[in-house]
């Protein structure tokens, strides 16, 4: 399968201050997509954003407030705190020494059917999205690919399986087995993980926020190896006052749990966007091309600092 990819990393320096941005692009198909990446346009946009952050952004006054996650932030959260913990090999302990385990385990407080988010949250992993970076129709064990509903209306619904993990949990593979090369083990992987859209426009999400932050994109992020404690730092972010976007905010931080993040989602916008990423897992490391994505989310009363 042909795939093309690109990335850029930029640093903007002014008045002794610096801000940085990273963007990745990916497509399953040929060079026809390259122009669609609009790399130059996006770099210029990012450069302006970073310049504004340096020149105008204010620090956030820490406290509980509403948070609008832009599609990029939605995507990374879906990947890290839904996709990864729903990998059955991780749940079974197969990756315990490297990529870690999951907060979901047999006999634990979370299992299929357990509530992990609000009704508004449905997250799928779907390799069949045409031309997506994680596109495939049959996995590397020959199992037909299909959409998997991971969190459905806020409940844990279906794990990602290869044939080995499925056999151990007495079910069937759902086509999640991927290997980056012929001499690498095929293991349970995500493909394109995203939140399904709702019905509101982004403006409608914002107009009901009395005081909050719009975190449009992120810079630093990480999550613990049970996939429960995570942190996202905003790159392009704005203050929201009485339903209106105000000035830029410098690197707002949310540090929260998987359950709190998805449980505080009260509304989801209707426009879905995807970002290309390279997912890390396996030993030797197998960087797998994936999409992360979704619509904008509105989280009620989360602690932002």
């Amino acid at each position: 399968m042909p795939r093309i990819g690109a990335y850029y990393f930029i640093t903007v320096s002014e008045q002794g201050k610096t801000e940085q941005a990273y963007e990745q692009f990916g497509y399953s198909g040929g060079w026809e997509a390259f122009k669609e990446f609009k790399i130059a346009e996006k770099m210029v946009h990012d450069a302006h954003v970073l310049k504004d952050v340096i020149a105008k952004a204010k620090a956030v006054k820490p406290g509980k407030m509403d948070l609008i996650c832009g599609t990029e932030v939605t995507g990374i959260a879906a990947h890290e705190s839904c996709g990864h913990p729903m990998e059955a090999d991780r749940i079974l302990g197969r990756e315990m020494s490297q990529a870690g385990r999951s907060f979901i385990y047999q006999g634990g407080p979370h299992w299929i059917g357990t509530r992990i988010g609000s009704e508004a949250v449905t997250i799928v992993d779907d390799p069949t999205v045409k031309n997506s970076y994680g596109y495939y129709l049959y996995d590397d064990e020959g199992v037909k690919a299909r959409r998997r509903f991971l969190y459905k209306n806020g409940r844990i619904n279906e794990f990602l399986h290869n044939r080995e993990s499925a056999a151990k949990l007495d079910t069937r593979s759902n086509g999640s087995s991927r290997s980056v090369n012929y001499d690498r083990e095929a293991i349970v992987r995500m493909a394109n993980t995203f939140v399904l859209p709702g019905k509101l426009s982004e403006e409608e999400l914002i107009e009901d926020v009395a005081h909050g932050i719009y975190m449009k994109s992120f810079t630093e992020w990480n999550i613990d190896d049970k996939r429960f404690n995570q942190r996202y730092v905003g790159r392009e972010a704005y203050l929201i006052e009485r339903g209106e976007l105000k000035g830029p905010i410098a690197r707002p931080v949310i540090e929260t749990t998987t359950e709190k993040f998805w449980s505080t989602v009260d509304a989801v916008s209707k426009r879905v966007e995807f970002e290309a990423a390279t997912c890390g897992k396996g030993d030797p490391a197998q960087g797998a091309p994936v999409y992360t994505g979704g619509p904008c989310l509105r989280l009620k009363g989360v602690f932002v600092k």
Binding site: G100, E185, E220, K226, E255
Partner: protein, 441 residues
């Protein structure tokens, strides 16, 4: 002459004939063995061989590279590479490959690692040691990995040589409870002195201490870092010492050559010595490798260079090519003069951190970052480990942390695991003041 070296040289000659100005070809014949285990059982044993030639060429300052497998269809590969060069843009940072003939040290690679006998025994030695140390049933997982690589390098600019590189490592993570774990590693370039039980004992000991963890509290702490977690930080600082990181403003060491960046007790070197998993006698340009002290008693002495970056900085290569980006091979923290126990005794109220993962930057030019400790996290009270903790994050600045090193232990350990402690390091227990810890709210 060796057949593989001849074939490698042939690639260089062919590329020159096609019009390349400068060419380097490096052939690696690698034999790799890996055994993965989890839940105290072996999941899979993998053996793979790789036969690959890295080719990099410059044409009118356009630099392009490719991989060729098994010397198959070299002519087509080189023609395509030249074609690519002709549609590429001039590289502003390319200043030529290393020139001259060099003599290389003799490789000390261990031929026993060509084909590891009974690898399963090493794994169970580690599991048994972990269980014995933990004093109760444990759940463990990890890997045993060995490699033996024959390297053949030929450059149109003079360097030509052969090397053999070997390594073996065992990494084990042991759980005594669902949220109580310890991680141990045993790393070497040879089987001699390779003792998997040491890794198991360390993992088991930490797993035992880590039982019944309580949620940690945010705050600013004095921290004793285990050699394993400190190896992650050593990799960050060494990566930022690469001249490429400095040129791309992704380093905290920009404009700091000759300046104090750490306390007097801190000396950091890059040294792909014979003991290291990254052992090598020449770099990717064929320049003989050597020990490079880049922070000498707290003063930043040099960046790590290949030939091109060295010319840009008006100095000599440190033999850290990496053709695009100079890269550290094996980071060494010079031993301190206090024992590990003395470091713990100095802490009235603080933390002992044993491992970490997911080190990510919000600004690598300034050093703002966070990383998530995993496995044992412990509260130290009056020099003693008092309580196991969980769910804390280091949210700090790597430049500030370098300056906050208070003491380094005499005891050192060669560490490497996955992408988290990479490059390998000769690390130590380190006491650091004023480390900022945060947690989920």
């Amino acid at each position: 002459m060796n057949d593989q070296l001849s074939k490698t040289e042939e690639i260089v000659k062919k590329a020159k004939k096609l019009g390349a100005d400068e060419v380097i070809a490096k052939t690696t014949i690698g034999r790799y063995r890996q055994l993965r285990f989890s839940n105290n059982q072996v999941d899979i044993t993998v053996a793979w061989n790789d036969y690959v030639t890295d080719v990099v060429l410059a044409w009118k300052k356009r630099v392009v590279a490719t991989l060729m497998h098994d010397f198959v269809d070299v002519d087509t590969g080189l023609r395509q590479l030249m074609k690519l060069a002709k549609v590429s843009k001039e590289s502003p940072t390319f200043k030529g490959f290393a020139k001259g003939k060099f003599r290389y040290a003799k490789s000390k690679a261990d031929k026993k690692l060509l084909d590891l006998e009974k690898p399963t025994e090493y794994v169970f030695e580690a599991i048994d040691a972990a269980e014995k140390e933990a004093g109760s049933k444990i759940d463990s997982g990890g890997i045993l990995f060995s490699k033996f690589e024959d390297i053949y390098l030929s450059s149109s600019e003079g360097p030509v040589g052969t090397d053999a590189r070997s390594a073996v490592e065992l990494s084990i993570r042991a759980f005594s409870e669902r949220e109580a774990s310890g991680h141990g590693v045993e790393c070497s370039s040879t089987l001699k002195g390779f003792e998997p039980s040491r890794a198991g004992e360390k993992a088991g000991m930490i797993a035992k201490l880590a039982k019944n963890p309580e949620l940690g509290n945010e705050g600013v702490y004095d921290v004793v870092f285990d050699p394993l977690i400190f190896g992650s930080l050593l990799g960050v600082w060494a990566g930022m010492a690469s001249a490429f990181s400095v040129m791309t403003q992704t380093s905290v060491f920009v404009n700091r050559l000759g300046k104090k960046v750490a306390p007097e007790s801190v000396t950091l070197k890059d040294n792909p010595a014979a003991y290291s998993m990254s052992n090598r006698v020449f770099d990717d340009e064929g320049v003989p490798t050597k020990e490079n002290v880049f922070i000498d008693h707290g003063v930043l002495k040099t960046y790590l260079h290949n030939t091109s970056t060295a010319k840009i900085f008006k100095t000599k290569t440190t033999a850290n090519a990496g053709l695009i980006s100079p890269t550290p091979w094996n980071v060494e923290l010079e031993a301190g003069n206090r024992s590990k126990d003395e470091l713990f005794h100095e802490v009235k109220k603080g933390l002992y951190l044993t491992n970490t993962w997911y080190t990510r930057f919000q600004n690598s030019a300034k050093g703002d970052f966070s990383t998530i400790p995993r496995d044992g996290i412990f509260l130290i009270d009056k020099g003693e480990i008092k309580q196991s903790l969980k769910d804390l994050r280091i949210s700090d600045n790597v430049f500030a942390m370098l300056g906050n090193i208070a003491a380094v232990s005499k005891e050192r350990q060669h560490v490497h695991w996955w992408g988290e402690v990479d490059p390998p390091a000769l690390s130590a227990y380190v006491l650091m003041n004023n480390v900022h810890m945060t947690k989920s709210k």
